[in-house]
């Protein structure tokens, strides 16, 4: 019986591996490459212990702990520094990889009706699920080994074999845990969007929960899977306990997914999907209405997420103030800008993260146009009396409005919680203005998507790489001491770091003009090209 449930799992694993023969190596290469160049850069940039200790001191505050997690700042070797600065962030990206890869071969294949065919073959009921779990487990293990041995091969003194393997295992383990989380949501939700959305929500909550508890109560961080990542303390105390925990939790989640899969009907979920309306509401009967209806749930989820992100960051301002209060040495060291508080100095960094995070739903909103095209749904609209300009205009309007709302909500979140926890309160105008300064940069990103959709529809997703680039150079630019122009290649690099720097009119104006120009070009392209499936 058990054998029959799993029949042909091996065949199907090889099959899935073939389907992802480019995707998986690309993820593995990207993650390993970025992980392995970091210690090389650190060794070159922060060669002496003195330089590293100076860096450690700028890191020793609650705001940094919330962002990157705790680390061993007393013995800040290249290894310890890599773990502290990079491990958590990389783990979050590995989690995202798992979520996307697992959804692809569980709920997405099922929703698109491909599993039905497989189930009619002499393959077991649970074979396809387990085949995709085997593939993601293999990917995670490969990642752990490549990174583990890769880091060790650098031959950096503080990076011994045990620590390197643990570093890799922490990343691979995170991949496994989120594979389990996604596999369970793939059973609960009836569609791929829901599966991805809920799994990412878990990832985000795990990150934020850890941010807050790492600052306030480190023991509570054990409740977050991302908390386990930093608890490994790779290259310092090399604690393998969290890895064991990750494997155990993964095992439990895999079993749960199998159980849920076994007791449900194909193409059904457990979360209630209430029957919809039988008539289209008045507001649905236009391209704009339809486009916004299709994205409603996603927009609401992102709005909540960004507010929480802002609020979580704001909530540490109180700790930050009291941490620096009366600590003259730190105040000296952080090169105080005249007239600005310590909180003011952290705000720009937080706002960069918030504005880039707000760009994600805005780009998703415009890229949805391409998604609908790929599914062959645009033809039906264009076949009626809807012009291409109208159609693209509807998606563009939603994207722009979406970005504006997301940016505002993150600012409001940051302000409202910061204002509550700080003794002297926080100026709303300052926070809101500093955040909104990024809106023109966001418009440029939307504009780039419009151009891609207009001229190079198959390349639409490449805009995400530009977002990732912007994030890396702006967020990590200071750490890696990049030249100025590296940051200026991103529209976000042209925005002044308010409140420390003054926001001037010119760059915002130029960016806005650029964005509008890109959008016009994109519209021209979209009106000229073939609509393709």
């Amino acid at each position: 019986m058990a054998k029959n449930l799993m029949a042909k799992t091996g065949h199907l694993s090889r099959f899935i591996l073939r389907l992802d023969r480019i995707r998986i190596p690309l993820w593995l290469f990207g993650l390993s490459f970025f992980t392995i160049i970091v210690p090389i850069a650190f060794r070159d940039l922060y060669g002496s212990q003195q330089e590293r200790d100076a860096m450690a001191e700028t890191m020793a505050n609650p705001a940094m702990t919330a962002m990157v997690g705790p680390g061993d700042l007393t013995n800040y070797t290249v290894g310890a520094m890599t773990t502290h600065q990079m491990l958590l962030m990389t783990a979050a990206i590995v989690g995202l990889m798992s979520i996307l890869l697992v959804t692809r071969h569980t709920r997405a294949d099922e929703e698109d009706g491909r599993i039905e065919m497989v189930r009619s073959l002499p393959a077991g009921r649970l074979s396809y699920l387990n085949a995709s779990l085997i593939v993601i487990s293999g990917t995670s293990i490969a990642l752990a080994l490549i990174i583990g041995f890769g880091l060790y091969a650098l031959g950096i003194e503080s990076m011994d074999l045990g620590g390197s393997l643990l570093y890799g295992a922490a990343l691979g383990g995170t991949g496994l845990v989120f594979a389990g989380v996604t596999a369970v949501f793939a059973q609960l939700s009836e569609n791929a969007r829901g599966t991805i959305g809920m799994s990412i929500a878990v990832l985000l909550i795990a990150y934020l929960f850890r941010a807050i508890t790492d600052v306030s109560n480190e023991t509570l961080s054990w409740l977050s899977p991302l908390g386990w990542v930093t608890k490994t303390e790779a290259y310092t105390s090399n604690n393998w306990g969290p890895i064991l925990l990750m494997v155990l939790v993964t095992f439990v989640l895999f079993i749960a997914a199998n159980y849920l899969n076994a007791v449900r009907d194909l193409e059904r979920g457990f979360l209630p999907s209430k029957p919809g309306r039988s008539y289209a509401s008045r507001y649905l009967q236009s391209p704009l209405g339809l486009a916004s209806r299709l994205q409603r749930t996603g927009i609401i989820a992102w709005a909540i997420g960004l507010f929480v992100l802002g609020a979580s960051y704001g909530s540490i301002f109180g700790d930050l103030e009291s941490f620096f209060d009366g600590n003259d040495m730190y105040e000296q060291m952080l090169v105080q800008v005249e007239g600005f508080s310590i909180v003011d100095q952290f705000i720009p960094m937080l706002i960069i993260v918030m504005s880039l995070a707000s760009t994600i739903p805005a780009l998703m909103a415009i890229n949805k146009l391409r998604g609908e095209e790929k599914k062959g749904r645009l033809e039906q609209l264009l076949g009626r009396s809807v012009s291409r300009t109208q159609l693209m205009g509807a998606y563009l309007m939603i994207a722009v409005f979406n970005g504006l709302v997301m940016l505002s909500l993150s600012a409001i979140g940051l302000w409202s919680s910061g204002n509550t926890v700080m003794e002297e309160g926080l100026s709303f105008g300052m926070v809101y203005g500093a955040t909104m300064a990024y809106f023109p940069a966001m418009l440029v990103m939307i504009g780039i998507s419009v151009v891609l959709i207009g001229f190079l529809p198959r390349m639409t997703n490449f805009n995400w790489i530009y977002v990732l680039y912007s994030f890396l150079v702006l967020y990590l630019g200071g750490l890696f001491q990049f030249d100025d122009w590296v940051g200026k290649l991103s529209p976000f690099g042209h925005i002044a770091n308010a409140p420390i720097e003054t926001v001037t009119f010119m760059p915002l104006f130029v960016l806005t003009i650029l964005a509008v120009g890109l959008m016009i070009i994109g519209f021209i392209g979209f009106n000229k090209r073939d609509i393709e499936g």
Binding site: M1, N4, A7, K8, H11, L12, F15, L19, D112, G113, R114, E116, M117, V118, R119, S120, L121, P122, A123, G124, R125, D265, L266, R268, G533
Partner: protein
């Protein structure tokens, strides 16, 4: 020997009853037609048969094994073509055919090539570029090139052009010659009439008729188009006459096949100028059940002008 035996199958989705005590039997060597309107429950029945859905109640057997518990064993000898064929967009048609055939465990290279030619499929194209018809061809080729004992085909020709429909029918006849069984769900009645030995009609989750085509023809009506010298009166009152309708060509109506004699006697008294009769088709039977109750049109006009 019975290949498929469904006894009192009930399937519920939550509170909604999709199938209500369905009984059905396909014997060895039979081509069994399964017809019914959209949403009647054809695909649901087939998916229960394949162990894709679990029956809420009743027993479902293929080759005298349980469709749910022994699914893997059963599927080694079953080939399936779903109504809505969905494939992996990044694979070519040829790759998908090989995958399906290989997973099923039988392999017939020469037949694969022959079928690809007959169905005129380009197996080197990526599935994302295939139309519905071409995706259906992929599933049909995969099914017909494997050595199964039972073929379950769910509206397999809904996307094929008439030429390809012809090829499909030839393939089914080939299988029949080899003594294999087919369960063919369809709403293309001419196809079912041409191919099937037995038919079951399903509507709103219940089987409403089942039997051989000849048995079912007794229940059908003959369609008559008649033009007479005098206007025909009170035709609706004659037993067995239905759906009287005045047209430019004359009076169009339907007659229960077993009342034909009486009706002809009645209209011949009005002086027949022209008489056309259409043979009883499954179509009329089908329509009768579709509509629920027969609607008689209230028009007594007719006769020559």
């Amino acid at each position: 020997m019975s290949m498929v035996k469904i006894t009192n199958l009930t399937k519920k989705f939550g509170k909604f009853t999709a199938l209500d005590r369905v009984n059905l039997e396909v014997n060895s060597g039979e081509i069994f037609g399964f017809i019914g309107p959209n949403g009647a429950g054809k695909s649901t029945t087939i998916r229960v048969l394949l162990g894709i859905l679990k029956a809420t109640d009743g027993s479902v057997k293929i080759f005298e094994k349980d469709a749910w518990d022994d699914a893997v064993e059963i599927h080694k000898r079953v080939a399936y073509v779903p109504g809505d064929v969905n494939l992996w967009p990044n694979l070519t048609g040829g790759e998908v055919i090989d995958l399906f055939v290989k997973l099923r465990g039988t392999n017939n290279k020469s037949r694969r090539e022959e079928l690809i030619n007959r169905f005129d499929l380009d197996p080197t194209k990526k599935c994302r570029t295939y139309s519905k018809g071409n995706r259906q061809k992929v599933a049909l080729i995969a099914a017909f090139s494997s050595d199964a004992d039972l073929y379950i085909l769910d509206e397999p020709t809904s996307g094929l052009d008439p030429l390809m429909e012809q090829v499909f029918q030839e393939c089914v006849m080939d299988i029949k010659k080899q003594g294999k069984s087919v369960l063919l769900s369809s709403h293309i009645l001419s196809e079912v009439e041409k191919l099937c030995d037995k038919v079951a009609i399903i509507r709103e989750g219940s089987i409403i008729e089942t039997g051989t085509l000849n048995e079912l023809r007794h229940l059908t009506r003959t369609q008559i188009l008649v033009e007479t010298k005098q206007k025909i009166t009170s035709l609706e009152k004659v037993k067995g006459v239905h759906e009287v309708e005045g047209t430019d060509q004359g009076l169009l109506f339907q007659v229960d096949t077993n009342e034909l004699d009486n009706v002809m006697k009645h209209i011949s008294s009005f002086g027949i100028l022209k008489l056309e009769s259409a043979p009883p088709t499954l179509e009329t039977l089908f329509m009768r059940h579709y509509e629920g109750k027969a609607t008689s049109v209230d028009s007594g006009v007719g006769g020559a002008n």
